[in-house]
C-alpha cells in the first residue's frame, strides 16, 4: 500500500481540492478532470469539459468565526451541555438506588420517569453539545473530493492472485485429489439436512392430521372456560358463546384431564367453536338452518385464511370478523366470505340435542377447519 504508481496523480488532486476550498471567489481548476481520467491508466485522451468549472461560491463566515465574543460564548455553551450531561448521569445513578420501585409520580412509576429523564437528558445534552460544537466552532470550509476508480490497483490484483497461487501450492489441493474430492463431497452432503428440514414446508408432508378434529357424533358442546354443557334454552337470540368440545374437559378416575398440555392446545387449535343464536327467519339457506337448532348455529372459531381464532361477532348483522386480516363471514348464510383474504367459508358444525337435552355435535366438521393446504379435500 505504500507504492501506488498507477494512482499517483490522485495525490495532487486531493491537495488541490484542499486548496480550492480555501480560495475565495470562483476558481477554475481545469487540471482536475484530465488528471483523474489518466489516473485510471485507461489510456483515454484527456476529456474536454463543454463549459468551464465555475468553482465554489464565495465562503460565508459564521458569526462565531468573525466575533471572538460569540466564539467564547459558544465554547461555554458546549462545555456547559457536557457538564450538564455529567450531572444527569450522576443523578441517574442516584435515582436508580434512591427511588423505590413502587413510588408513583403523576400516576406513573416515579422510578421509570426519573431514570428516563436523567439518562435521556444526559444523552440529549451530549448530542446537542456535539452538534453545537460542530456547527459553531469546528473548522468550516468547503472541500472537494474527487471520485476514485472502483477497481483495485493492478499491483493489488497481482498480489491477490499470488496469494491464491501460494495457498493452492502449499495446501497441495491439486496434488491430493482424494482430499479434494472428499471435501467437495462433505460440503455437498450439507445440502441434505436443509432438504430434509425444508421438506416439512412442502406438500409431500403428512397433512392427514389437519383434515379432522376431535369432534365426534354425540360430543357435547361446552362453554370454553367452565366446561359447562349448554341447553338450547340457555341461549337467547343474539347470544354468543365461545365453546370447546367436551373431550377437552373429560377427566380420568383420579380427576385429572385426559387431554392436557401440548396435546390440549393442539386439540383446541383445531376444535374451538362459537355458538350463536339468531332468529331462524334470518337464516338465508336451508343447510345452515338444518345444521342448527332453532336458530342456534355452531361454527369453527378458526379463520380459514391463516387460522386466527375469531369471535368478533356482530349480533345484528350476523357477521363474524377476523381481526388479523379483516376476513368477514356471514353466519346467517353458511359462513360465506363477504370480505377479506379468506378463500372458503367458515366450516359449520352440525348440531343436535342428546337425551338429557344438551347441545351435541352430530359429526366432525365435514371440511377441514383453519387455513387451506395443498392436499386438502373439500
Amino acid at each position: 500500500m505504500t507504492e501506488r504508481p498507477g494512482l499517483d496523480p490522485d495525490q495532487p488532486d486531493e491537495a488541490q481540492a484542499g486548496d480550492v476550498s480555501r480560495a475565495e471567489g470562483p476558481v477554475t481548476n481545469p487540471d482536475v478532470q484530465p488528471t483523474t481520467t489518466t489516473g485510471r491508466g485507461s489510456g483515454l485522451a484527456p476529456r474536454q469539459e463543454p463549459i468551464d468549472d465555475p468553482g465554489l461560491a464565495e465562503h460565508e463566515y459564521r458569526m462565531t468565526d468573525v466575533d471572538p465574543v460569540l466564539e467564547r460564548r459558544a465554547e461555554r455553551q458546549v462545555a456547559g451541555l457536557f457538564t450538564l450531561a455529567m450531572l444527569l448521569t450522576v443523578a441517574f445513578t442516584v435515582a436508580y438506588f434512591a427511588i423505590p420501585e413502587d413510588a408513583l409520580f403523576l400516576g406513573t412509576s416515579a422510578s421509570n420517569v426519573a431514570l428516563g429523564v436523567t439518562l435521556g437528558g444526559a444523552l440529549l445534552c451530549i448530542g446537542v453539545g456535539a452538534i453545537q460544537w460542530a456547527k459553531k466552532l469546528m473548522d468550516d470550509h468547503e472541500i472537494v473530493e474527487m471520485r476514485h476508480p472502483a477497481a483495485s490497483t493492478p499491483q493489488d490484483r497481482k498480489e491477490a492472485v499470488a496469494i491464491l497461487e501460494t495457498g493452492g501450492r502449499e495446501s497441495g489441493i491439486g496434488r491430493r485429489p482424494l482430499i479434494r474430492n472428499t471435501l467437495i463431497g462433505s460440503m455437498a452432503a450439507l445440502g441434505l439436512p436443509a432438504v430434509v428440514l425444508l421438506r416439512d414446508l412442502g406438500p409431500v408432508t403428512d397433512t392427514e392430521v389437519l383434515s379432522y378434529t376431535v369432534w365426534t357424533e354425540g360430543m357435547r358442546v361446552v362453554e370454553d372456560v367452565s366446561g359447562r354443557p349448554l341447553r338450547p334454552s340457555d341461549l337467547q337470540v343474539g347470544t354468543l358463546v365461545n365453546c370447546e368440545p367436551a373431550a377437552l374437559f373429560a377427566t380420568n378416575e383420579e380427576g385429572e384431564r385426559i387431554i392436557e398440555g401440548t396435546a390440549a392446545l393442539q386439540v383446541k387449535a383445531k376444535a374451538a367453536v362459537i355458538l350463536v343464536r339468531m332468529p331462524p327467519a334470518e337464516i338465508s339457506d336451508e343447510q345452515t338452518q338444518n345444521w342448527g337448532i332453532d336458530g342456534i348455529l355452531c361454527y369453527s372459531k378458526i379463520c380459514t385464511h391463516v387460522g386466527c381464532p375469531i369471535s368478533l361477532y356482530e349480533q345484528q348483522t350476523h357477521h363474524v370478523l377476523c381481526p388479523c386480516h379483516q376476513s368477514t363471514f356471514d353466519l346467517a348464510a353458511g359462513g360465506t366470505v363477504l370480505f377479506g383474504p379468506a378463500a372458503r367459508p367458515l366450516p359449520q358444525l352440525p348440531l343436535g340435542v342428546d337425551d338429557e337435552g344438551y347441545l351435541v355435535a352430530l359429526s366432525d366438521f365435514l371440511v377441514p377447519v383453519g387455513p387451506s393446504y395443498p392436499t386438502m379435500e373439500l
Binding site: V66, I131, E223, L235, E314, Q315, Q316
Partner: protein, 276 residues
C-alpha cells in the same frame, strides 16, 4: 194525634246512629293521610316514564315503543323496545347513549341526558310493556367478594369472550362500517352487567344461563383491576400491541429524527462580514 207527632219512631235511634257513623267514617277517610302503596307508586312511575318517553323517545321508537321502520323497510329507524327490559333502558340512557344526538353508525357514550329518577321512570315504563331483563341488584353485579383466584378466572373468561372486540386490556377496537367496540375504562359495574345481559347495538348477548352472575362478577372485577393498574410504561398506544408501537416508532419517531437532522444541517447563521 199531638202525642203521636211527638213520639219517636222506634227506628229513629238506629237511623241517627247510622248517620253519625257514616259522618265520622266519611270525615276520617277524607282527612286521614293515605298510605302510599307500592302498587300506586309503581303505576305513577310508569306513567311518569310514559310522559318522558312521549317527549324524548317516541319520535324514533314510536308512541307505544313499537319501533319505526325506515323507508327501506328492513332497517329500523328506531327499534321496537317491547321486551328489551329495564336493564337495556338503564344501560342505554344511563351511559348517555340514548337519546342519540345524531343519526350515526353507532350511538357513542356521552354524559347522560336524564337524571337517575327520570332514567328509572323510563326503565319502569319500558319494562311495563313486556317482560325483559330487569336491572340487576347490587349483590348480582358487585365484584366485592371476588378473591384473587376469581380475579384470575375473570381474566380467563374475559380473554375467551371479550378480547376479540374490546382488546385484552379493555381498550376497545374497530368494527366494520364505522362501528366500534367502546373502551371499558371507567364504565360502572352495573352498566357492564347490563351490557352483558342485553347485548346493546352489535354486542352479542351473554345471558346468565351461559355466563353465570358469578362469572360476570369475576369479569367486572378483572376489568376494574386492569383499570386500576398504574401506567408503568410510557405511551401505551391503547394497548394495541407491537404493530401499533412499531408503526409509531418507525414512522413518527424515526421520521421526526430525520426531519430534525435535516433541519439542523440546513440551519445556521452566516454573515457577510469577513475575518478581521
Amino acid at each position: 194525634m199531638r202525642l203521636s207527632t211527638r213520639r219517636r219512631h222506634p227506628l229513629a235511634a238506629i237511623a241517627v246512629l247510622l248517620v253519625g257513623l257514616l259522618a265520622v267514617g266519611g270525615l276520617y277517610s277524607a282527612f286521614v293521610p293515605r298510605a302510599a302503596t307500592a302498587q300506586t307508586s309503581q303505576a305513577d312511575l310508569v306513567e311518569e316514564g310514559r310522559q318522558l318517553f312521549l317527549i324524548g323517545c317516541a319520535s324514533c321508537h314510536g308512541k307505544n315503543a313499537e319501533g319505526i321502520l325506515a323507508s327501506e323497510g328492513s332497517i329500523n329507524y328506531g327499534p321496537s323496545l317491547v321486551g328489551v327490559g329495564a336493564a337495556a333502558v338503564d344501560f342505554q340512557v344511563g351511559t348517555g347513549r340514548m337519546p342519540m344526538a345524531a343519526a350515526a353508525p353507532q350511538a357513542p357514550r356521552k354524559p347522560p341526558v336524564y337524571d337517575a329518577v327520570e332514567t328509572a321512570a323510563l326503565a319502569a315504563y319500558v319494562a311495563s310493556l313486556a317482560p325483559g331483563p330487569a336491572i340487576p341488584t347490587e349483590e348480582m353485579y358487585s365484584p366485592e367478594g371476588v378473591d384473587v383466584e376469581g380475579l384470575a378466572r375473570g381474566g380467563e373468561i374475559f380473554r375467551a369472550n371479550c378480547t376479540a372486540c374490546h382488546n385484552s386490556v379493555g381498550a376497545g377496537g374497530a368494527l366494520p362500517d364505522g362501528r366500534y367496540a367502546p373502551p371499558l375504562t371507567g364504565v360502572s359495574s352495573v352498566h357492564i352487567y347490563e351490557a352483558l345481559i342485553t347485548g346493546p347495538q352489535q354486542m352479542p348477548v351473554f345471558p346468565d344461563d351461559t355466563l353465570t352472575p358469578q362469572d360476570k362478577q369475576e369479569i367486572i372485577a378483572y376489568i376494574n383491576a386492569v383499570d386500576d393498574v398504574p401506567n408503568y410504561g410510557g405511551w401505551g398506544l391503547g394497548g394495541l400491541g407491537p404493530v401499533a408501537e412499531g408503526t409509531v416508532v418507525w414512522l413518527v419517531a424515526m421520521g421526526a429524527m430525520v426531519v430534525a437532522a435535516v433541519w439542523i444541517a440546513a440551519h445556521g447563521a452566516r454573515t457577510r462580514r469577513s475575518k478581521s
